[in-house]
């Protein structure tokens, strides 16, 4: 064939009109950093409006109370990016707390290891069912939600038995402070850092995006789909166990009524942070902003003495609805360009 000498006509320029790319970039910015922008606005307004808000004590409090949701949200971000969902994290969080408190009688190592082992196993089992049998993540993790809560109730004699943390070393994990902030805050921050590295700069992270973006394509491109899915659910399990244990250490006991509905806060934080519920796009920096935003809204409503905390859920719900509508709009705009 003689056309070897043919210089291929360049393609691509025509595909990206300059105007569209600006709109696209703006959309991208909003998608990625919308939560951070709103967070800054809310913080600025709250600092001006309430004297108590900007105080060190209040901010430290805000940070600690958000840190547990934040740890769960790290794992949830991975799960949602694959196009899945994990409803069981709230129950696993509660289960992890009770197990940690019970195991603390055998030392701090046992108090950490037991919840990690049990919740890790639950996560692994869920991941296996989702990846290998093709069952819907919603159903599998709904079963996990019920199962983990049942297990927790069984361990605590229907919730009548509250285990106290026996190891003071272990209690220190939750209560100890460094520079005025409790340790769980640092744990959450470190996990966010590691998570972001894993998500953006590792093959595992690439595979997560690929599966959520198009599972069939990912499979054709040789992505180990099942292994990656199992790993993300294992990750959420481990993180839920860890967060539960830290919370037990902080409260010095395994409180059985915790974690009900917590999975929804976690999911809301992730989605508000710009991760697409349909999978394929998202970031941990966004998730961090989303979780902090929810925490800040709660904190601000607490500052307004006349409103009960129930209104926090109203505001969070409204916010979530707005974010999802904006996401849909943005993805439509981007598809058109």
């Amino acid at each position: 064939m003689t056309s070897l000498t043919t210089v291929p006509a360049p393609i691509g320029e025509a595909a990206s009109p300059p105007g569209a790319s600006r709109a696209e970039r703006a959309g991208h910015l909003l998608q990625q950093h919308g939560a951070a922008i709103v967070l800054m606005l809310v913080v600025a307004v709250a600092s001006l409006a309430f004297d108590g808000f900007a105080s060190g004590g209040n901010l430290a409090n805000l940070a600690v109370s958000s840190s547990f949701v934040a740890i769960l949200a790290v794992g949830m971000t991975f799960v949602i990016i694959t196009g899945g969902i994990d409803l069981s994290v709230g129950s696993q969080f509660a289960l992890g707390g009770v197990l940690a408190a019970w195991a603390s009688q055998y030392g701090w190592l046992a108090a950490l290891a037991l919840p990690l082992a049990v919740c890790g196993t639950i996560g692994l089992a869920q991941g296996w069912l989702i990846a290998r049998t093709g069952m819907a993540p919603f159903i599998v993790t709904l079963a996990g939600l019920l199962g983990a809560r049942g297990l927790m109730l069984a361990v605590s004699d229907e919730g009548s038995n509250t285990y106290l943390v026996k190891s003071s070393t272990f209690a220190e994990f939750g209560q100890g402070e460094f520079l005025g902030l409790a340790y769980p805050v640092y744990v959450a921050l470190v996990l966010f850092g590691l998570g972001a590295l894993l998500l953006q700069r590792s093959r595992f992270g690439q595979n997560t995006f690929a599966i959520g973006g198009s599972e069939d394509s990912a499979r054709l491109m040789g992505v180990p789909v099942a292994r990656t899915k199992i790993t993300v659910y294992l990750l959420t399990g481990l993180l839920a166990g860890l967060a539960g244990a830290l919370n037990a250490a902080r409260l010095s006991s395994g409180v059985t009524i915790l974690g009900v509905g917590m999975e929804l806060d976690v999911i809301a934080g992730v989605v508000i942070g710009g991760t697409l519920l349909t999978g394929g796009a998202g970031s941990l920096s966004g998730t961090l902003a989303g979780v902090l935003l929810l925490g800040t809204i709660q904190n601000v409503i607490n500052q307004i003495g006349s409103l009960t905390s129930a209104y926090q859920q109203v505001v969070s719900g409204a916010f979530l609805a707005v974010v999802v509508v904006v996401q849909r709009y943005l993805s439509r705009v981007q598809r058109l360009t």
């Binding site: 064939m1 006509a9 360049p10 393609i11 691509g12 320029e13 198009s214």
Partner: protein, 543 residues
């Protein structure tokens, strides 16, 4: 790039022998053999249900054959999945690209093979540089950090191709690679194919566009009804011969009388057309298609798979947005046709895929029939049950629908009766024009004859019918006139004595000297002869 292996030049890269693949109720491949030599471009052609896509899936590891052997580079191969095939050097470029649209071009290109730093993290700079290098030979100069979906289909396809070839491909399977490319991009693709071949990579090329086949390919394999019909050098065939092989009609001896249940020609009323579609245009699919149908007339729409037949019908019915063209129904122009508007104007479309686009299998016959007519049957949003019952009864008898009762669920009926239910639904709206897309596909012989008789009767009652059929015999005997489409444009119109199977095939095979369309871009007709050397035409001319 893949190392070409000059050691054994004539050993086939792929040798499939006696492949059999069965699906419930269908023998998709029956003792099919196929071989692929290094550096050749091999056309794989066939009509709907020929087994083409099944064969592709066997070659690319998606399906496992029930019998027969597959050898890759002389080694026996049993692919357990697409990954296995890819590892053996068989890469496929699918119509639906097969990449992840939300990820960046660079990440798509190098997914699974990303350059990493000493810490095991992705080396982003190297990733982007490497991606740009990989795309260079394909003439794609884009910002590789942007998501794939922000680029056009042509670019996406080149990215897919670059990825496939860079993963050490020895065989590249291209399934309809030009279906959504601009002419300029098609040229680039052909250049790339030539370069692949020079490297000893073999290309399996699937396309319905004759010009492309003759331009790009050396050899051709024709499948029909799951069987191997022909394999050999493309230069030995002319277009007509190739078309007749695909359609299963011997060009020399087309039977004079058929076995279908159509009566002779209908009385050709010289009334004003009930349907007049002019210059229907849709990017990549339709290029100025015009069709007219008069009351009482059956107009056939012929052409190969992918020639734009279904798209024409859908465009008329408002089910497919068009970029240009007008549809006039009984003298009234449809402005911005939607399915609701065209139904009101009197257009009824029986879609090709009745399961997906037509019947509601879980509803009863009665409810299925009443569905489209509901707006007409209801008054102020209330539906008269008695009127529905009356209409349903009428059509049950008239169309001879065989069912235990009107309450039977449509999903339980045979294909032929489902088709009649669908027909009844549309007739209940009192249409002026019927668009029938493959009305007898997948239904048994007896029911087929009944449906054909029905079409005949309906036309005699004054309906205008547009009939699409891949069954050449059905098309020719059922139609008073046949409009033949080719690559989304009208290739010819046959009337009276010209309406023969041979006439249809000839119209498909030969490109018209002057394109009958309003497309100014159309090139200098694509020659009438057999194979032409690849380098001659400056542009493929095609739409």
């Amino acid at each position: 790039m893949s190392p070409s292996d000059p050691a054994v030049p004539d050993e086939p890269l792929i040798e499939a022998t006696g492949i059999v693949k069965r699906f419930p109720g269908v023998l998709a491949l029956d003792d099919v053999s196929f071989d692929l030599r290094p550096g050749e471009a091999h056309a794989l052609v066939g009509e709907n249900g020929a087994g083409k896509s099944t064969l592709l899936k066997v070659l690319t590891g998606v399906y496992r054959p029930d019998a027969g052997s597959l050898r890759v580079c002389g080694e026996p191969a049993a692919f357990s999945g697409p990954m296995d095939a890819q590892n053996a050097g068989v890469q496929a470029i699918h119509q639906e690209i097969g990449l992840v649209p939300l990820m960046s071009v660079a990440r798509n290109l190098l997914l699974g093979r990303e350059p990493r730093t000493r810490l095991g993290l992705l080396d982003m700079r190297a990733l982007h540089r490497r991606a740009a290098e990989l795309l260079e030979p394909y003439g794609v100069r884009v910002d590789v950090r942007r998501p794939l979906r922000s680029f056009g289909v042509g670019t996406q396809q080149m990215v897919a191709l670059a990825r496939a070839v860079s993963v050490d491909a020895r065989v590249v399977v291209m399934d309809e690679p030009t279906s959504s490319l601009e002419p300029r991009e098609v040229e680039t693709l052909f250049g790339v194919i030539d370069r692949l071949r020079a490297q000893g990579i073999a290309v399996v090329y699937v396309s319905h566009r004759m010009d492309e086949l003759f331009r790009v390919c050396d050899r051709v394999t024709v499948l029909r009804d799951g069987r191997l019909v022909h394999t050999g050098a493309l230069a030995d065939l002319d277009r007509l011969r190739l078309v007749s092989l695909m359609l299963g009609r011997d060009a020399a001896e087309v039977r004079a009388h058929g076995l279908t249940k159509f009566s002779g020609d209908h009385e050709r009323a010289d009334d004003a057309p009930v349907l007049e579609a002019r210059g229907l245009t849709r990017r990549h699919q339709l290029h100025g298609v015009s069709v007219t149908v008069r009351p009482g007339e059956v107009v056939g729409l012929g052409g190969l798979l992918g020639s734009g037949r279904s798209e024409t019908a859908k465009a008329i019915a408002g089910a497919l947005p068009t970029d240009g063209g007008t549809v006039v129904i009984a003298g009234t122009e449809l402005r911005r046709p939607t399915t609701a508007r065209s139904t009101r104007a009197g257009v009824a479309l029986l879609p090709e895929d009745r399961k997906a686009e037509g019947i509601v299998p879980t509803l009863s016959i009665r409810d299925n029939i009443a569905l489209a007519a509901l707006p007409a049957l209801s008054r102020a949003g209330l539906v008269s049950e008695a009127r529905i019952d009356r209409i349903v009864e009428t059509f049950m008898t008239r169309l001879r629908i065989k069912a235990s009762s009107v309450q039977q669920r449509v999903g339980e009926l045979s294909g032929g009766n489902q088709q009649k239910v669908l027909l009844a639904r549309w007739l209940a709206t009192g249409p002026k024009v019927l668009l029938l897309d493959e009305p007898t596909r997948g239904i048994d012989v007896g029911a087929k004859a009944e449906v054909q008789t029905l079409i005949d009767e309906l036309a005699q009652e004054g309906l205008g019918v547009l009939l699409i059929s891949s069954d050449l015999e059905e098309l020719v005997e059922g139609s008073d006139r046949v409009v033949v489409l080719r690559d989304g444009a009208v290739a010819g119109e046959l009337t009276g004595d010209q309406v023969t199977e041979q006439g249809v095939m000839a119209a498909i095979a030969t490109a018209p000297a002057t394109p009958p369309t309003t497309e100014p871009a159309a090139g200098p007709g694509a020659g009438e002869g057999p194979a032409r050397p690849a380098e001659d035409a400056p542009s493929p001319g095609e739409d």
